[in-house]
């Protein structure tokens, strides 16, 4: 079953080229639509995005204060527009289409999702939030930048982030995000139509993220929920740069929105303008807070994936300007203490790839010189990947430390390679009657391999308790020791025969007659095959390769 693959960490599918990931993602759209189109989002906390629910708390506060001031549709629309206005005051550059911010229109149609994610990231949109903001305030379109936005330098990426943020807010309140309806409503509105069309993937990720992050939301403060949302989103935004940008933007939006009521926007904007693509170094701290709220394995995974996503993105553009970034990291040293701020600046700007570089922020109390920063980045990347490998290799959960982990990985790879060798040996000795049912085999394998494989495994296991099937069920250290102490003696075939005869099974019917053929076959094997088999047979009581049984079977079928 690909179930085991689905439980794997969500590696960036594009980076690792795993077809397994797209399969997993294929199933999410259904869940996603359910998740996002729930009209009673207040009640369906389990399904809604934690981001949205966090936003709702923010939305409600400005809505309460400005209920009467903003003309327009329903209360939800007022909240949204107020928020957008505040957002607009932050980001005064770039285009965000107005299409997604319909107030009072509950068009819970499928276009909601797609419109939110339909911005092509290649176009650096000019944010006209300033106009929108002013429109909110007084329905007066103001061309160009609002005077109050003067201190904030334009950040096109932030426009997209704000767009995404507003999109989430709209989704939360089940506002109809209909592209067709918006133009007449808010001309200069945020242009979320420009959001990337990696919609399905992203929606999926949000859905999965929402599933994970819901609990935190319930328990933790909005701030932490924002963190959780950020983490989830960052975790989900691994696979591709545009998607990363989107989610990073939204994360920005969330953290920004939190500070909007507080009025501490300047800090945010400064960091915004300085950082196109950042590795959130203080993520380490966020990780801790994160794990505190919900001690689940998924949290660490989210944090991992967050790192992973950053690692991936930074990897793409590392050469471009790592030195520059670490220098920048120097100039912004100790803001790492602010968990909110640093959180997820990992937005790569697809519109300006040559300028992309990694912003590495020095952690609090750590060295800020470029060398150590770069080294830390590298170490973090390696440890992320080691964690993923830990999930993949069976029996490595208790192992700590990279060296031991690498040992286990090496053993596992070697055992897999040997298994392949033994299986190919087995297949090479099989009778040619396979020709008759090859087509049946072909179709049967493809269709049933997942489901039937466990069944084929178990009978062998039950029948041969002294020969556990395959490496996966064995103790790793014992295997390692067997490799290290490989003996070159003539392997005790007779003892093997006896062991096999002790456990007759339907799987090995011709066992009884194979003892005679064994010696001459063994003499003619390749040297290294022999050594491997000897190693296996040397430990045949405690653990066995699948290959040892296969070898026995092969001799049988001669």
């Amino acid at each position: 079953m690909e179930k085991e693959n689905m439980t794997q960490p969500n590696w960036a599918s594009s980076t690792f080229g795993m077809e397994i990931q797209p399969n997993e993602l294929n199933y999410a759209p259904d869940q996603l639509t359910n998740c996002f189109f729930n009209p009673n989002w207040d009640n369906s906390v389990d399904q809604s995005d934690p981001f949205e629910s966090a936003l709702s708390s923010i939305v409600s506060s400005p809505a309460a204060s400005n209920a009467g001031a903003i003309p327009g549709g329903g209360g939800d629309g007022l909240m949204i527009r107020e928020l957008i206005g505040r957002l607009g005051s932050i980001c005064n550059s770039g285009d965000i289409s107005p299409q997604n911010y319909i107030a009072g229109h509950n068009n819970n149609n499928n276009s909601t999702n797609t419109s939110c994610y339909s911005t092509p990231l290649n176009s650096p949109p000019k944010l006209k939030l300033s106009m929108m903001d002013s429109q909110i305030r007084g329905n007066l379109p103001i061309p160009g930048n609002h005077p109050s936005l003067a201190p904030f330098s334009p950040d096109p990426g932030f426009a997209e982030r704000a767009a995404r943020f507003s999109c989430f807010v709209s989704n939360t309140s089940c506002m109809g995000l209909n592209e067709t309806e918006l133009p007449y409503r808010l001309m200069p509105r945020v242009e979320s139509g420009r959001l990337s069309r990696a919609a399905s993937n992203q929606s999926l990720k949000l859905a999965t993220g929402s599933q994970m992050g819901v609990q935190e939301n319930n328990r933790s403060s909005p701030q932490e929920a924002n963190l959780a949302a950020d983490k989830k989103l960052s975790r989900l935004s691994r696979s591709s740069t545009p998607e990363n940008t989107e989610l990073g933007d939204s994360r920005e939006g969330s953290s920004v929105s939190e500070q909007i009521p507080g009025g501490e926007v300047s800090n945010k904007v400064d960091t915004e303008t300085k950082g196109r693509k950042r590795k959130s170094i203080p993520r380490g701290k966020a990780k801790e807070t994160f794990s505190l709220t919900t001690p689940s394995a998924k949290d660490s995974k989210a944090a991992l994936d967050n790192d992973e996503s950053n690692a991936k993105r930074s990897k793409q553009d590392e050469d471009a300007g790592n030195e520059k970034d670490t220098a920048k990291g120097k100039t912004e040293p100790k803001t790492a203490g602010d968990v909110n701020q640093k959180q997820n600046k990992d937005n790569s700007k697809p519109a300006e790839p040559p300028k992309d570089y990694i912003h590495v922020r020095a952690r609090r109390g750590q060295a800020t010189d470029s060398h150590s920063l770069a080294e830390r980045v590298r170490r973090e990347k390696i440890s992320e990947r080691m964690k993923f490998l830990q999930d993949l290799v069976p029996g490595c959960n208790k192992v700590t430390g990279k060296a031991v982990m690498l040992d286990e990985i090496i053993n596992y790879v070697q055992s897999l390679q040997r298994q392949v060798e033994f299986l190919s040996m087995k297949l090479s000795t099989v009778n040619p009657r396979m020709d008759l049912n090859m087509d049946a085999l072909l179709s049967k394998d493809i269709f049933q391999s997942r489901g039937a494989l466990p069944h084929t495994l178990y009978p062998i296991d039950s029948a041969m308790p002294t020969f556990p099937f395959g490496y996966q069920h064995q103790q790793v250290p014992s295997l390692h020791s067997s490799i290290a102490n490989g003996t070159e003696n003539q392997f005790p075939v007779n003892s093997l025969n006896a062991a096999l005869r002790r456990n007759p099974s339907a799987q090995l019917p011709p066992i009884d007659g194979f003892g005679e053929a064994t010696p001459e076959v063994s003499a003619l094997w390749e040297d290294d095959l022999q050594s491997v088999v000897q190693m296996a047979f040397g430990q045949n009581k405690q653990q066995s390769f699948h290959g040892s049984m296969a070898a026995a079977q092969m001799k049988v079928e001669l």
């Binding site: 693959n5 299986l423 297949l427 394998d445 003619l524 040297d527």
Partner: protein, 157 residues
């Protein structure tokens, strides 16, 4: 869900590998002589089957990953230099096993060993080496599962 996954049109690594490998197996079996095979023939057939498994796995992955590219390049090089190359390779691997007992400790030492294991691992930095290892392990386990299934089906019928 199962039907969707395993439909003939879906092309996962697993299905692609299965198809190619079975085709190769058929081809190899057609070359079998009717007379009982000598052990040397069996050995050669074994090598062919192993090669077929590697080739079908690497080609199922395609050029997306460095290890599959390296494996395909190695195989093509091996084909060009003749089949004797595989025997020398196996002897080299035996020597490699002996060397491993000298215990290279630490992450760097293990990384070196890993580089030799993973095809194409020599020319990678540690970070991408771990990436490739991850994908390689996944594909290897897929390979093992498929081959086990094939073997069981063949032996049981």
């Amino acid at each position: 869900m199962n039907s969707k996954r395993f439909s003939p049109t879906s092309s996962t690594i697993k299905s692609r590998f299965t198809r190619r490998f079975l085709r190769a197996l058929l081809k190899i079996n057609r070359q079998r002589t009717r007379t009982p095979s000598s052990p040397m023939e069996i050995c050669q057939r074994y090598l062919k089957v192993k090669l077929a498994a590697d080739v079908s796995m690497a080609s199922a992955v395609g050029s997306r990953r460095a290890w599959s590219r390296a494996m395909l390049a190695k195989i093509r090089h091996g084909v060009r230099t003749g089949s004797m190359c595989s025997l020398t390779m196996m002897r080299k691997r035996k020597i490699y096993h002996r060397k491993k007992s000298t215990k290279e400790v630490g992450i760097v030492g293990n990384a070196k060993v890993l580089r030799k294991l993973v095809p194409g691992g020599e020319a990678m930095d540690t970070c991408s080496l771990l990436d490739e290892t991850f994908h390689y392990i996944k594909c290897l386990s897929t390979q093992v599962k498929v081959m086990t299934r094939i073997a069981d089906q063949i032996c049981s019928t």
